[in-house]
């Protein structure tokens, strides 16, 4: 039998335990229930920030959209980290660019290795431009630089979202319609701005072959010293012959400016500019968009800023 004081202490302890236990049990139960609540958003994991921007414009706040690559990152040379695997593990849908933009197919590998997640390639249906590189024909993956191809990305994303969440299909289609109108207006605006550049001055020299679709759409000759990828794949990497060709092309064309890119080391293009005796016209967003809070953090903003940078550098003074 407990003596007087010990008994009181034990009884008090039992009293407080009795008070605390139900509270703890309720909290743990609520946490467990909340974790499995049907209100949790579906999650889309995208390889690049451009695709993430397209996806957000389609799904709005109905789904959570994240991009594996951050602003300024290079998809050609990117190597996934453990955090990316955790991200994909929680995904309901994965989106990639395709056409080997994701060097060594890192996005497809992530989707496969983390629960065989459904993976949609946004360039499906795009008519790719071919690049000839040292006897090899490769497909140019930078298709989004033509807004008409960006529209195709959006359509592929809409179809994927409808399959994933058919109850909200009409909302996704309505958002996509609005966004496609914006892309149409953007296309017309870019054409109008580029129209201010005389035909013989429409030479776009950049760090790597990212702008061929832009060139094809708006009538630029595109030249760059690096092959189609900044990585070590076919055609990637500078060769002396290619560098000589570019310097000669720049000198003979009288192009007024070269451009560096936010996701590529500017050193090479700056050296070529010095050799050719031309100025650096500005920095362009290429494989990645801008940081959050910058003008280039969305696709429309990126295209707008790139266009203005190019036009202001190449237009007759």
């Amino acid at each position: 039998m407990l003596d007087g004081w010990s008994g009181v202490i034990v009884k008090k302890r039992l009293f407080f335990v009795g008070l605390a236990l139900p509270v703890v049990l309720c909290t743990l139960t609520a946490a467990a229930v909340a974790k499995g609540e049907p209100g949790d958003k579906l999650k889309i994991v995208c390889s690049t920030s451009q695709i993430a921007d397209f996806a957000r414009n389609v799904v709005g706040d109905r789904m959570e959209v994240v991009s594996i690559l951050s602003a300024g990152a290079d998809p050609h040379t990117y190597t996934p980290v453990p955090g990316d695997s955790r991200l994909v593990e929680g995904a309901d849908l994965c989106l990639q660019n395709g056409l080997h933009l994701e060097g060594k197919n890192w996005m497809a590998a992530l989707a496969r290795d983390n629960g065989n997640k459904p993976l949609v390639t946004c360039t499906e249906g795009v008519k790719p431009l071919d690049l000839e590189q040292e006897g090899e024909t490769v497909e140019d993956p930078h298709a989004w630089f033509d807004p008409r191809n960006a529209a195709l990305y959006v359509r592929n994303i809409v179809r994927a979202a409808e399959r994933l969440d058919p109850d909200c299909a009409s909302g996704y289609r309505a958002r996509a319609e609005l966004y496609l109108r914006q892309l149409r207006a953007l296309d017309g605006w870019v054409e109008k701005q580029v129209g201010r550049i005389a035909g013989d001055r429409r030479v776009l020299v950049t760090s790597h072959d990212a702008f061929n679709y832009l060139g094809a759409r708006y009538g630029f000759k595109v030249r760059s010293p690096v092959g189609w990828s900044t990585g070590s794949e076919i055609g990637g990497g500078i060769t002396p012959a290619r560098r000589r060709t570019v310097v000669e092309s720049i000198r003979s064309s009288g192009v007024p400016a070269l451009f560096v890119e936010t996701s590529v080391n500017p050193k090479l293009i700056s050296e070529i500019a010095r050799e050719a005796g031309v100025k650096i016209g500005g920095e362009l967003y290429s494989d990645a968009m801008g940081e959050p809070g910058t003008a280039g953090e969305t696709y429309v903003g990126m295209m707008r800023e790139n266009t203005l940078t190019i036009v202001e550098a190449l237009i007759e003074p």
Binding site: P147, R148, A151, L152, R155, V158, R173, A176, E177, L180, R181, L183, R184, A185, D187, G188, E191, K192
Partner: protein, 176 residues
């Protein structure tokens, strides 16, 4: 005296003739008008019951495949007309400038009808404003006729229009 009488008679005849002419001119004449003008009876506008009309749309531009349409270039709708929420025209093939697209025997409950109109110009139209003419016809008469314009050069023509269906009178024959 005789002169006086003659003068009086002559004056009376003249005045009487004038009065008679005035009387004849001011008399009500039963003139048959081709159309009633002042009295809007139910035959001149839709009335409240549904009646059938032909809806004609004429484009001032080429509505062709648009790579920015949600359904793509193969199945995207080039021209869409809705009346009171119902699709009246949904054209998926190209429509050329000046072509008339007609929907016959469309049931419309007037006199006021809400139309929604959407037509997509091709990208080649980006340098000019784009217009679409919408007419509602019955028995050869126009009951509504309006033209809508794109907001900007080359932009999609897209508008909701409220039209009152009333027989349009272009000629009046009052005759005397």
């Amino acid at each position: 005296m005789i002169r006086f009488v003659c003068a009086a008679v002559l004056t009376s005849v003249i005045l009487g003739s004038v009065a008679l002419c005035q009387l004849l001119l001011l008399r009500e004449v039963d003139v048959q008008f081709t159309h009633d003008v002042d009295d809007h009876n139910s035959e001149d506008h839709g009335g409240d019951e549904a009646q059938t009309y032909d809806v004609l749309v004429t484009l001032g531009f080429d509505a062709v495949a648009d790579p920015f349409q949600l359904d793509g270039t193969t199945s995207g709708i080039r021209l869409l007309v809705r009346a009171d929420g119902q699709d009246v025209i949904s054209h998926v093939s190209d429509v050329r400038r000046g072509d008339n697209v007609v929907a016959s025997a469309v049931s419309l409950a007037g006199p006021e009808v809400h139309f929604y109109l959407e037509a997509t110009p091709g990208l080649e139209e980006s340098e000019r404003p784009c217009a679409v003419r919408l007419r509602v016809m019955r028995g050869g008469d126009a009951y509504a006729d309006t033209t809508v314009w794109s907001e900007g050069y080359g932009a999609v023509v897209q508008r909701e229009i409220r039209l009152t269906l009333r027989r349009q009178l272009h000629e009046l024959d009052r005759g005397l």
